[in-house]
Amino acid sequence: MLNYTLRRLMFTIPTLLLISFIIFLILDLAPNDPTGNLPLTIPPEVREKIRQSLGLDAPMYIRYLLWSQQFFINEPLNLLNQWFGWCIGDCEGRLRVSSWATRSPVVDLIAERMPQTLWVVGMSYVVGILIAVPIGVISAYKQYSWFDQIGTFIAMIGFSVPTFFTGVLLIVIFSVWVPNDSFFWLPSIYDTTLEVVDWDSFMLQVRQMIMPVMVLGLFNAAQISRFMRASMLDNLSQDYVRTARAKGLKEKTVLLVHVLRNSMIPVVTVIALGIPQIFGGAIITEQIFKVNGLGQLLIIGIQGADIPLVQTLTFLFAVLIVLFNLIADVLYGLLDPRIRYE
């Protein structure tokens, strides 16, 4: 198993390098000019100086290698320095990937935005799983009952209605129609400056998280509950379930210990595979509720033609996808003793 994991890890390095190169190529082949957003009153020679200061006069492969050096070597070293105080090489004058718009290092910007995204996205995923697993179990156990029919229908709605509509619909209901002073009124804008210090501010935090978390959570729950149901159905008809019942075990034990544990194996991998997609989906949710997380940072970067920021963020999303694919495969091997990778 360890051998397999190591081999897969080795294989991810060229994949990630290739992906980073493709992203760089797309951004570089684009015909537009990064200084195009600057005021027209800037004279051409100054504009040329600005281009040089951004390093745009160097050939493409040099810029790619520079970015790779800054991202793969300098940034990790800098993180070590910040977290543990270890200083390797030149700690002060090290070149870092910096945003064109704000002139601050991109990684610092990302670190600033990360907690908000993780809170909203993480919570929504947890809520989604907590809703999905019981629904999947009951729908499979009572197959074709009214509960199952309604569950199937709601799940179909859940992954057909896009999050940008459910989000806006919730805003219309809970922020516009419900009167301001009502208990059910919820804020439509996520306030990141809120600090949780006492019970009141904690309640405010909970209230402002309800809508974004529910929007993403319902979308996730719809997908996971379908997988849970299918996986439970696969296991319920197996021989070991009949054996367990024949031994005289209680139905609760059969269902929750024997069947549920085995059905969770494929569901866990599906959950792991879904995490990177959630970050992508969060781009839209963050835009609706004005959460200043990673998704909003990406949109700002795209609108401002901030190439280093966009490139680093896109690459980070790619790293997430590759990493969670690997985690899903390894988890599958660890959980299911029938699967042995050689």
Binding site: L27, V168, V176, I283, I302
Partner: protein, 338 residues
């Protein structure tokens, strides 16, 4: 009774007849087909029936409410039919009687520039549907070609599947946004503002959504290749091109049809998401996603502006998904006929 007589008792059945019988028994799929048919009918023929120009600015009638609001204002329901413009209702926030702007000329109301929402919704549906269909066709063609080649020619299997894996590892939504942002102006210059952005969006959605189809098709082709009738075709000297077109393609039609329906849904959602993030079609060339995006600014004044386009997107995607579900059951010979 001989065997011939038993056979005579049965009605003549064709493959597609069986599929249709199975499909009809799926209630959700039938309902989905009716709803999708109605929406398709509405967006294709609707602009000929409701002939208001979606771009006409009737600035005096700006911010007209939906006529449905008239029926919510209270006891004056009959007046809604005769003269809705004079209706007043009690506003609890302002604590006085206020007049609402209502008119039968604009059943779904108007936007902040006085453009008719119903006409915009119909026009926007045309664009959304066209994008969905075109992008689905492109991704279907790409996916089928890649899948058939990878499954049929062993030497190309490895490279093509690695390419598929690579595409699956790319973060698609960020990349779509980046590509559209970067190439938008160039294509607008080349093909005009509307055709350029249409081509760009169809192209980027098409080339980023073919991977699932390719994988499914490859799997099916690999299984088919080992069957006797392919061997027979090979042994009488049929060239590869004709084996694929005559023997393989007709047999993988069902997974292709299922992924076609799912592809339309995915493409419509992606296009709306792009428009919603402000990187899709321009505001004067409405799509459902764009109308929803423009409506969010005025959400507290007129919530109906976001509800109608959102409902249109959701109903279309829901009905297409149900059709796909029914089609999958109907085309699966293990389920069909039970």
């Amino acid at each position: 009774m001989s065997n011939a007589e038993i056979a005579d008792d049965r009605k003549f059945r064709s493959l597609w007849g069986d599929v249709w019988v199975q499909f009809r028994s799926h209630k959700g799929a039938m309902l989905g087909m009716i709803v999708f048919g109605l929406i398709l009918f509405g967006v294709t023929l609707g602009p000929y029936i409701w002939t208001t120009d979606p771009q006409y600015l009737d600035i005096r009638a700006k911010n007209t409410s939906t006529i449905l609001n008239c029926f919510l204002t209270g006891e004056q329901i009959f007046q809604c039919f005769s003269d809705p413009t004079s209706i007043k209702y009690y506003d609890p926030n302002a604590e006085e009687l206020v007049r609402v702007k209502l008119s039968w000329a604009y059943p779904l109301g108007t936007d902040q520039l006085g453009r008719d929402q119903l006409a915009q919704l119909l026009q926007g549906g045309r664009v959304s549907m066209a994008v969905g269909m075109a992008a689905m066709l492109l991704s279907l063609v790409l996916g089928t070609v890649a899948g058939v080649i990878a499954g049929y020619f062993r030497r190309l299997d490895g490279p093509l599947m690695r390419l598929t894996d690579l595409f699956l590892a790319l973060p698609l939504l960020p990349l779509l946004l980046v590509i559209i942002m970067l190439f938008r102006d160039t294509l607008r210059g080349m093909f005009g503002p509307e055709t350029g952005i249409f081509l760009l969006i169809v192209f980027v959605i098409g080339i980023t959504s073919w991977m699932q189809t390719a994988r499914i098709v490859r799997g099916d082709v690999l299984a088919l290749k080992e069957r006797e009738f392919i061997l027979a075709a090979h042994s009488i000297g049929t060239p590869a091109k004709r084996v694929i077109s005559r023997h393989i393609l007709p047999n993988i039609l069902s997974p292709i049809m299922v992924s076609a329906t799912l592809g339309i849904a995915a493409a419509i959602i992606t296009e709306s998401a792009l428009s919603f993030l402000g990187l899709g079609f321009p505001s004067d060339f409405p799509t459902w996603g764009r109308l929803l995006f423009d409506g969010t600014t005025y959400i507290s004044q007129s919530p109906s502006r976001v509800i109608w386009p959102g409902l249109a997107i959701s109903l279309t995607v829901l009905s297409v998904n149900f059709i796909g579900d029914g089609l999958r059951d109907a085309l699966d010979p293990r389920i069909r006929g039970r």
